[in-house]
């Protein structure tokens, strides 16, 4: 019991030493029970359904599927890299005081966000129908059918499309940096581009990494569209197998399994990147 301070109004009970009762989480228990029941029913349905799980296990690690998933990863990484490169350039152009550059950037974003990516892939793959030979006049040229392989068509189609989306993410990141940072960079004699590279973009990265991680996960799955132009990614290869043996569901499960594996591996990488670019903002202790 504490003695009341002089001058305080009496009549309020002393609560020190009174234990706090634990809350009973009825909602959580009910929800858990319902979900477990539903899951059990689902597992039972799939176990008794027309799925031959032995076939799933058999095809999970066959070379064709493994090559497919490696191709998926390669294409995702390269197309995303191209997308980020284009995205940064286009975002900077969009924010440029030069109206010509700014409108060009806006046009690019409008064009490639406004058409389906599968249509763009088909266009690149069929470029030979428009331009039988392509190249740099007087220096080098070749037949478009030979140059626009499924790989290159997929890379250009996916990368350029991604660039349009990434440019908006980058623009948001650049705009999120305080105007005072531009002024401080100018005050120590930096030009626009150096300030961008040294001061603005490193700070923008903190903001853009979560949405870019999102875009990258989207890209891994969008590469499956490249199956329509014969790029041998995992879904394309799985389809080829089930065209031969008719085990459609089993092979789709195999492909789905590998997509989940790749996406799961990525999350820790994103976390590492976020930590790297959060330097100076995480530690708020004095």
């Amino acid at each position: 019991m504490t003695v009341a301070e002089p001058g305080l109004t009496p009549g309020f009970p002393d609560l020190s030493g009174v234990p706090v009762a634990r809350r009973s989480h009825w909602g959580r228990w009910t929800a858990a029970a319902v979900i477990i029941l539903v899951l059990l029913a689902l597992v039972r349905a799939f176990a008794h359904g027309q799925i031959d799980w032995a076939v799933v296990g058999q095809f999970l690690t066959v070379p064709v599927i493994l090559t497919g998933i490696v191709n998926t990863v390669i294409m995702s990484v390269l197309a995303m890299a191209l997308g980020i490169l284009l995205g940064v350039i286009v975002a900077v152009m969009r924010l440029s005081p030069n109206p010509v550059l700014s409108y060009c950037a806006a046009f690019y974003t409008w064009l490639f966000r406004g058409t389906p990516v599968i249509l763009q892939l088909l266009l690149w793959f069929n470029l030979a129908l428009v331009f039988p030979t392509i190249g740099i006049p007087g220096i080098w040229s070749g037949r478009a059918v030979d140059i626009m392989t499924p790989f290159l068509s997929a890379l250009l189609g996916l990368g350029i499309n991604q660039g349009a989306y990434t440019s908006e993410v980058m623009r948001a990141g650049i705009l999120s940096v305080d105007a005072g940072q531009h002024e401080a960079a100018q005050a120590i004699g930096m030009g626009r581009l150096r300030a961008l590279r040294r001061i603005i973009l490193p700070q923008a990265m903190r903001v853009v990494i979560p949405p870019l991680g999102n875009e990258f996960i989207g890209m891994i799955k969008t590469t499956s569209l490249a199956s329509v132009i014969q790029y041998p990614e995992v879904l394309h290869n799985a389809e080829n197998i089930y065209y031969a043996n008719s085990r459609v569901i089993e092979l789709l499960i195999v492909a789905g399994f590998w997509y989940l594996v790749v996406v799961s591996i990525l999350s820790p990488f994103q976390h590492l990147l976020e930590k790297r670019f959060a330097r100076g903002t995480q530690v708020m202790t004095r």
Binding site: E183, Q203, F277, G280
Partner: protein, 255 residues
């Protein structure tokens, strides 16, 4: 005849329909400390930002070291200088901002070294040694590895002063350097500025710290409505102002 380090002549600036500067003229001599005082919206910050070319004046001219800022006279016309030339002119001035504007992704040392290494292309080793010297001059040698978020406002502002000094400017510009600070942190920043003035640095200071102006300034300019209303030694401007507007401002600030 010798010329002032900074000469401002008939500078005007309009934002939309708002006339921020209505013909300001001023001389700042080598080694002089000039304090600009006045109410908010009087144009003192705008004037300082014109000297640092964060904004370009509409009319008039500013000469630093007899070099016309931002423009080049050619064939009876004024041409805007290129981005690169403006950046080079900016190296002669160091700017300290009200809200510090330290680079949050760099340490205190990184902030001070950024300009010398990236812009002046100086060798990293000697730039680091100089930066450490400057940090100890502002009393922060032990905070060199800290990020801005780990420093108090007063410490951040002292790093910002070191960052500006690292470019070896001829003229230091201070834009209300203590206005964003907690009252108990104002003193440490003013001490650094006092030391800097004593070392002979030419300084142009926009401030509300009349005590600092009285003690350190060689001249004080009182601005109101985009014009310099009264100019002279601090004892006269702050002690026995002649203009009604100066008297009103001072009595409002002191009471």
């Amino acid at each position: 005849m010798s010329k002032p380090l900074l000469a401002i002549r008939d500078v005007t600036k309009t934002f939309g329909t708002y006339q921020a500067l209505r013909g300001v003229s001023l001389d700042v001599w080598q080694g002089e400390v000039l304090c600009l005082i006045g109410g908010s919206g009087s144009g003192k910050t705008t004037l300082l930002r014109c000297v640092n070319q964060i904004i370009q004046p509409d009319g008039g001219g500013i000469w630093l070291d007899e070099d016309l800022l931002g423009r080049r006279q050619d064939g009876g016309k004024l041409h805007r200088l290129s981005e690169r030339d403006i950046a080079r002119q900016r190296l002669k001035t160091g700017m300290v901002f009200q809200r510090f504007n330290l680079f949050p992704h760099l340490t205190a040392l990184g902030n001070v070294m950024e300009g010398p290494v990236q812009v002046q292309r100086r060798d990293t080793g000697s730039a680091r040694a100089d930066a450490m010297d400057l940090l100890s001059r502002v009393g922060l040698a032990d905070k060199a590895g800290n990020y801005p978020a780990q420093l108090s406002g007063g410490q951040q502002q002292r790093v910002a002063i070191a960052r500006a000094l690292a470019m070896r400017p001829k003229l230091m510009l201070f834009d209300e350097p203590t206005s964003a600070l907690d009252p108990e942190l104002v003193g440490e920043v003013l001490t650094v500025m006092r030391e800097l003035a004593k070392s002979g640095m030419t300084m142009m200071v926009v401030t509300h710290e009349l005590g600092f102006a009285r003690e350190v300034a060689d001249n004080v300019a009182f601005m109101d409505a985009g014009m310099i209303v009264e100019y002279g030694p601090p004892a006269q401007i702050l002690g026995t102002p002649r203009q009604k507007r100066t008297q009103d401002f001072l009595s409002a600030v002191i009471s």
